[in-house]
């Protein structure tokens, strides 16, 4: 499927609606857009098969569920080379409190999103899990205060 070119206004409207609420039935989704239930279902399937919709995500309020602290860590490796990257990556993805790991170009090598119950819990994760990772060098931390996701260029 050659995309970009083949997405029409209805596809974009479906993507917008589903990124807001993916638990709606095809019938409910279609009603809002003036599409029949089978036509809606076919379009959503097509978006999934094309890999445009890759899955569903549970949107949880971390703070309300007792995870009051989210910190982004910028990690610079002390030693470079293919092996140290692999060792670091293998170890870091296994830490449950590390939600995302991104390899980036810029001030540091990796950007980690770490979630913890409170500051002392975060300190435990940082000391016992992060600072003991193989090859870890400089680490800088930014505490998340607020976060919002935008719908993106779907107009």
């Amino acid at each position: 499927m050659k995309v970009g070119a083949t997405l029409d206004d209805l596809d974009l409207a479906l993507l917008r609606a589903l990124s807001e609420d993916a638990s709606q039935s095809a019938g409910a989704l279609g009603r809002g857009l003036g599409l029949s239930q089978p036509a809606t279902w076919r379009r959503v399937k097509r978006l999934e098969n094309a890999g445009i919709i890759t899955g569903r995500r549970l949107d949880l309020d971390a703070e309300k569920l007792g995870f009051g602290v989210t910190v982004f860590l910028g990690v610079k490796l002390a030693t470079k080379g293919r092996l140290s990257l692999e060792d670091f990556e293998r170890a870091v993805v296994a830490i449950p409190e590390v939600q995302t790991v991104e390899h980036v170009l810029g001030l540091y090598d990796y950007r980690l999103r770490v979630v913890a119950r409170d500051i002392s819990d975060f300190e435990r994760v940082l000391r016992r899990r992060i600072m003991t990772l193989p090859g870890v060098g400089n680490v800088d931390a930014n505490v998340l205060l607020s976060e919002e996701r935008r719908p993106g260029p779907l107009a």
């Binding site: 995309v3 970009g4 997405l7 993507l15 589903l18 990124s19 807001e20 609420d21 993916a22 638990s23 094309a50 890999g51 445009i52 919709i53 890759t54 899955g55 569903r56 995500r57 549970l58 949107d59 949880l60 309020d61 971390a62 309300k64 569920l65 007792g66 995870f67 982004f72 990556e89 870091v92 993805v93 409190e97 590390v98 939600q99 995302t100 790991v101 991104e102 390899h103 980036v104 170009l105 810029g106 001030l107 990796y110 950007r111 999103r113 979630v115 800088d140 931390a141 930014n142 505490v143 998340l144 205060l145 607020s146 976060e147 919002e148 996701r149 935008r150 993106g152 260029p153 107009a155």
Partner: protein, 155 residues
């Protein structure tokens, strides 16, 4: 902030739904050994309390043709008391901004921006980003790879 007290069953429900948010209520109920109506009541309670905000579709922007993803770290001019209040609504007006996060640390705001290619990114940067109000400093990190994607909270 009212914390939601989760019992073991709530945790099991959220863990399972986090692992596969496409499961239907009857499927999940069956898997957990609950009746569908008991599961629905639990989910309703989690929604009402605000812990469960919803289920959202995940869009792969690369497949739609947005091949570049840049993380912009912005320091605001804090001598202006309205810096945050004016910067954030202005950033919301840029459709290519996918995420807006605010921080306590060296960085004040992080914007996640997508573009079709580097030339498109240059255009967004020069014609939209640089016009955002109250920026004191801005630096870019380019994504190379996502090593771990958000699988949710360690419930």
């Amino acid at each position: 902030m009212v914390l939601i007290m989760l019992d073991d069953l709530d945790r099991r429900i959220l863990r399972n739904l986090q692992a596969d948010p496409t499961q239907s209520i009857p499927e999940l109920a069956d898997h957990l050994g609950l009746t569908a109506s008991r599961l629905s009541r639990r989910l309703e309670k989690l929604r009402e309390g605000g812990g469960l905000r919803g289920i959202r579709a995940v869009i792969d922007w690369q497949v739609i043709g947005y091949t570049v993803e840049v993380s912009l770290r912005v320091t605001l001019d804090k001598t202006n008391p309205r810096a945050f209040d004016e910067f954030i609504p202005a950033a919301r007006q840029i459709p290519e901004v996918l995420e807006i996060q605010t921080f306590l640390g060296q960085v004040d705001v992080r914007l996640s921006v997508i573009a079709r290619d580097m030339r498109h990114y240059q255009t967004i940067y020069r014609e939209k980003i640089l016009y955002l109000p109250h920026m004191a400093d801005i630096e870019a990190l380019t994504h190379v790879a996502r090593i771990k994607t958000n699988k949710g909270l360690p419930l």
